[in-house]
Symmetry: C2
Subunit: 347 residues, 2 copies
């Protein structure tokens, strides 16, 4: 029962425009580290899985950059989606390929562009998830983040009774998944002990495929149809027809055998410049500044200079980010609207 | 009695940093016009004076750029100060050189980096000044701008009784020059009909030199000592020893025979980014934008992009200026503090 990992690296990261671009999405950026977020994810999970069992699915646009970023991986372990179809298809496709190689495979599905401040706790949680699958092989396990504030940008997981526990972790049944709430509802979720849905899953490859067969039968049939093709032909054949649907909406919200491991490991999805500003080390004035930056009578700003010196005078709580060919300036509280800008800017 | 013009082009223009730099001060910038402010000044005064009677004094650092910007001028008419010594020395030096060529010279002294919206009125005022010197050759005439608001960044001129008038202009005695006031005092000056001191003068070369002999005798003696040297040797010898003093403080405030012509010709000294924003055409949102700029839910900003696209989201009343190697961001009301930044930035 070997541990496999699927790193999902198809994201476009529009919310970190203009640093993230179509040809350099968030997972290929690095923050306060030489390694990209993708590579940091890879280095983390090497503690769990052998290199030949670490798989990455990404977009055709950046597949060569991903391979160059992870030279330790076999070429065939880096799969390129011909087009984006949300999370369910790529998970289904990878699960079927992993299962073909290892019929007892345990498979963690992880985003490629999140920060984890406590990687040891993170890996312990994933190991615990793998362990519980020995006694409960049918379970679809998700990792739920203990929330620290009523965020409206995440989905929430309502946990139910505890199934088992070990090493400080517990495994709980899932009562329900909830879409992104408004702020009042988010506060209610916190009071009820709901968890953030971070899009991290651990399951046996055969179990998730069985669940896909039940809840997404057309998708499962397409997998069977393309199973005997070589990798690129299979990807092209599958993606040409598969529907676009998220694993949460398509599977997790309907499946009965779903469980969650509540965890805290300094998780942050860097969903906005504001979020990044809350993670990176700030100076005495509360400013997060990287690159050639001069701050005069300015506080609480996030300023990332990549070439020209950026000088702020008498300004607070702004985001200023210099990309290769654009400079974004907005209040930190408007960070969520940056993706709207990114969508209509070339590159 | 030929009309000569001395254009003073030694300014560093720190208040328009980072567009203005040591090697490209304000007078060498252009705004909504192909021509630089210096060249626009030159083109204006060609209506008054023959090219051989138009003189420019600038700094050694930019003299070649100035000559390239004004190719119509004889090389010797563009004089380079070896070092900055405020306005009195360069005026005294130029006056002595002009007098040596034309003992009846009338000489206007004009800044090189101001905008004049109504050049015809401006030239009419200067012509009127030249005319009055025929009857009053001893007068030191200054042009006073009728103020439109209680600016604290300019000196003021208190006019006294009217001496003469013609063509809509009048010539008045000067009661006193006043330093930059605080705002309350500035409001009082407006009520009393005081004028802005724009640093523009018209006088006979022999009269101003006589006044310099009286009020700045050491400076006058230095002129005599270097009078027979060729231009560069004279400049070097004079500037090596001359004291640094403004023409206002060193001469105008002490001289008895001073008069002022009140005038209105859409004058603006572009003393800050905010001032520039008030001059240039704005869009419906009150934004002044030049270059590749995108403004979303943003109003009243001054945004000058010179390369990268600058995107503002949800911000009002800012200055954003991209220079060659620096980007300034500050509230418009802090524009006056930009020179402090410029002084401590390289270039």
């Amino acid at each position: 029962m070997a541990y496999h990992v699927l790193i999902m690296a198809g994201g476009r990261g529009e919310r970190l425009w203009p640093l993230s671009r179509k040809d350099r999405p968030k997972q290929l950026l690095s923050f306060d580290d030489d390694a990209t977020l993708l590579r940091r994810t890879f280095l983390r999970v090497r503690e769990l899985a052998a290199d030949e069992n670490i798989h990455v699915i990404t977009s055709a646009a950046i597949v060569e950059q991903v391979r160059a970023d992870l030279p330790e991986l076999p070429q065939a372990n880096v799969m390129a989606e011909p087009c984006g179809r949300n999370t369910a298809p790529c998970i289904a496709f990878a699960a079927s390929r992993i299962l073909a190689r290892d019929k007892d495979a345990v498979m963690a599905v992880l985003p490629s562009d999140h920060l984890i401040a406590a990687p040891t706790v993170f890996n312990d949680a994933l190991r615990f998830a793998g362990d519980v699958l020995k006694a409960h092989p049918e379970l679809l396990v998700t990792i739920g983040i203990k929330p620290s504030y009523p965020e409206t940008g995440y989905g929430y997981i309502a946990p139910d009774q505890t199934l088992t526990g070990a090493g400080g972790f517990e495994l709980r049944r899932v009562k329900a998944f909830h879409e992104k709430p408004d702020e009042e509802r988010a506060r209610g979720y916190l009071e009820k002990g709901y968890l953030w849905n971070a899009g991290m899953f651990v399951w046996r490859a055969d179990s998730v495929l069985a669940a896909i067969a039940q809840h997404l039968p057309a998708m499962h049939a397409l997998l069977a149809k393309t199973a005997d093709l070589d990798l690129d032909a299979a990807l092209n054949g599958f993606y040409a027809e598969v529907e676009s649907v998220s694993i949460d909406f398509g599977l997790m919200e309907h499946a009965a055998n779903v469980a969650v491991i509540p965890a805290e490991f300094g998780w942050n999805d860097i969903g906005s410049w504001d979020a990044l500003g809350n993670i990176l080390a700030a100076d005495d004035g509360g400013n997060v500044a990287r690159g050639p930056v001069r701050l005069e009578e300015s506080h609480g700003n996030v300023v990332l200079a990549s070439g020209k010196k950026i000088v702020l005078l008498g300004l607070d709580d702004l985001v200023v980010v210099e990309g290769d060919d654009a400079i974004l300036i907005c209040p930190r509280r408007r960070s969520q609207d940056v993706s709207r800008i990114a969508k209509t800017e070339a590159g």
